[in-house]
């Protein structure tokens, strides 16, 4: 069952690097991460690769495999021909640390800017009540394992470093949508989604949805509805009229505009 796999792995750091050739024995049922671990154990002990669970649950081992953004632990060798060379490079949207490891701090800063859940008081018995059908919308987005492949593939920031300050990216649009759809949340983040997070820059090409290893329908179920919600608040004539004549719908009545959070608590080493 086993065969000798040819791989090209990107080796280098922020000052530059190159694809290096490796050959390694692999066997049936293995994934790309197995092959890389074997290279590490037998040929290149210092080959940098980030991984944790090796089960598609933690989202650490994101990379580009033959140009396609994927989790190395969920990419089976049987997806390729045995004589095919597998090329693995680091995610392109984030700065390289070393070899296949990138600096994903960008995502942690965007997370800190996003105001959290803000619930009303609990029910009299100290519990909260929500219908299963209502929590399911948010649950889809909370399946996110933060592999940041959607961030990596998004053309708004891929190769457009200048857009990064004004754009949070698909991972955080699903977070905005999750909170906006939360049956109990009292915050209104629609202006932030439009302003600070730049949801308007997304032109729904669905690249993010295509690479999501959790199969979250990022564009259809989160970004498009969130864009509509933002627009409704801004331009819906009924909302506008209602607010003018003093009739307010339940939505605006119960929610307060949230303030942007502060980044800077995720510490990284000095260079």
């Amino acid at each position: 069952m086993g065969y000798r796999l040819k791989m090209k792995l990107w080796r280098g750091d922020k000052s530059g690097g190159e694809l290096k050739d490796y050959e390694v024995d692999v066997s049936e049922g293995e994934v790309v991460l197995d092959a890389i671990h074997r290279v590490q154990a037998e040929q290149a002990g210092d080959l940098a690769v980030r991984w944790n669970c090796k089960a598609g649950k933690c989202g650490s081992c994101s990379a580009e495999i033959n140009g396609k953004p994927r989790l190395m632990c969920m990419c089976r060798l049987s997806d390729f021909e045995e004589d095919e060379t597998i090329t693995v490079t680091p995610m392109r949207t984030f700065p390289v640390v070393r070899d296949l490891v990138t600096d994903v701090t960008f995502n942690y800063e965007k997370a800190a800017e996003l105001p959290s859940f803000s619930p009303p008081p609990r029910d009299a018995d100290g519990k909260r009540r929500m219908a299963q059908v209502d929590v399911e919308r948010g649950q889809e987005f909370r399946k996110c394992i933060e592999c940041f492949l959607c961030q990596n593939v998004c053309h708004v920031v891929r190769d457009h470093e200048d857009n990064k300050p004004a754009f949070a990216g698909p991972r955080f649009f699903i977070r905005y949508a999750e909170l906006d759809m939360h049956p109990l949340d009292t915050n209104d983040r629609r202006e932030l989604a439009q302003g600070a997070a730049g949801i308007g820059m997304c032109n729904i090409t669905k690249c993010c949805t295509e690479v999501c290893p959790e199969g979250i329908k990022i564009t259809d179920n989160a970004i498009i509805p969130m864009k509509e919600r933002v627009v409704d608040k801004k331009y819906d004539p009924l909302v506008w009229l209602g607010s003018k004549i003093g009739i307010r719908n339940k939505d605006t009545e119960s929610r307060v505009p949230a303030k942007q959070g502060k980044a800077g608590h995720i510490k990284r080493p000095a260079h």
Partner: protein
Amino acid sequence: MSASEQGGMERHQYDVIVVGAGGAGLRAAIAAHDAGAKTAVVCKSLLGKAHTVMAEGGIAAAMGNRWPEDNWEVHFRDTMRGGKMLNNWRMAQLHAQEAPERVQELEDWGALFDRTEDGLISQRDFGGHKYARLAHVGDRTGLEMIRTLQQRTVELGIDVFMECTVTDLFKDESGAISGAFGYWRETGRFIQFDAPAVILATGGIGKSFKVTSNSWEYTGDGHALAMRAGAALINMEFVQFHPTGMVWPPSVKGLLVTESVRGDGGILKNSEGKRFMFDYIPEFFKSETADTEEEADAWYEDKKNNRRPPELLPRDEVARAINSEIKAGRGSPHGGIFLDIASRRTPEFIKKRLPSMYHQFKELADVDITAEPMEIGPTCHYVMGGVEVDADTQESAVPGLYAVGECSGGMHGSNRLGGNSLGDLLVFGKLAGEHAAKKVSGLGANRPAVAPDDVAAAATSAVAPFEVEGGENPYAIQHDLQQAMNDLVGIIREGAELEQALADIEALKERAKQMVVEGHRQYNPGWHLALDLRNMLIVSESIAKAALAREESRGGHTRNDFPKTDHEVWGKKNLVVTLNDSGDGVQLSEKPLPVMPDELKKYFEES
């Protein structure tokens, strides 16, 4: 920011340093922060990637949302019986009492649990729990928990040092904790923390075993740090082998298959198609376990008039049974046995309740679990043993050093019930954070100081693998250690094999002195492994030594040569492991169990 460069080393001052960013670490950090302490989390991986994400089934908490009869007393009793009465009774009591509020609190912070028909947090059945009690989100409860705590940590503005590994703890002359030392994975540069309180929340030790559900991080760092600082470990002989890990393909051997499969109706069958668990009901659980398939199946709907299926016995019992069936030649084609939910529940039900399992088998093994049975076998999952701490404060014998979660010991006795781990993280994480903060505020300006010589020694020790001439590959040593632990200190143990394991570990320790790492200090996994291996070796020695000494079988410790549970002798004491005088190995002592007060003893009298 208090960072200051000294001789190329970063230095930071905090009140409380939490080592580890899983559920216990983050909950501890939140509590310490809320109590007013300047707090930082230091973690080996990126924030949100900790092993807690792997927890699938749920958080055990007697909220009574499904069964109003449930309460902390029942949960306490289940926990003690599951641990074969070796648990620290006070920890089991605190856990059962406080878990419900800890779960509600997660909901306040944005967790979206599955709901009951009444809109309350849903609760599911699990092994060893009398009532359906596990709060859950499909089969990805751990992810929900880590994300919720992560988002809360970020919202509160708690500092997090990501991909930063702690390698040493500092103490002052009086023996109190004064700080910690570590390195940034990214640059390889050193970092010093000055702090009078350190909370260890580093998780488990599973990576010392070949077949395991644990990730690379589980190298026993907190266990080893505590021992080297002078604290003691208890219950180290008790290692939980989860009954259901994947067995095929080899690349994923050991990967966890959640107990929820059985909680939601799945059954175990051997190659003859027999539902074999009925043959393995121990005397201890006979009165509460169904002895016919009819009764077992009826239990899911009617718990009042039926007893629980034997598939839902505590994990140690099920793992041993599976092991026996495989050894008797009634295993599946790839050396496991069959876990079948396909013939028992509809595809819709399975996909709704067990989406990750469906996905995992489909993607990694080409198996559709809604149509065919899974092949599964035991996998090293959890260590019951850990740092001995005060039950109410989580402080160890070293002043200012705390331990919580999997790296602390006592709560689970000889065997942990499924679902009790996540509750453990939350309940004791909070208590540790509060007590650490309180302790620090009581110190005033009298803070223990870090000795410069200790910092220099820590730095020398960390770069030692670059200096050595020799040629031992750390990956090869790790491989050999995993093989030895798997073969000789596994699910069924024997005196001669344990002695062999100890000899093997000694040889590996010698080889480890000759470890060399190639390359430089920047993000170098070979170097990281070389440092982690020191911890793995000393923790493995602790497990093997305690396992050899305990001449009985109980919970997560089964001796072929001592198959009986000996309540008279071994039911009354713990084995305590500490670093030996020369610091190159471990030594054992015995300590009587804490005595349960009479008002709690009554829960155990009738059976």
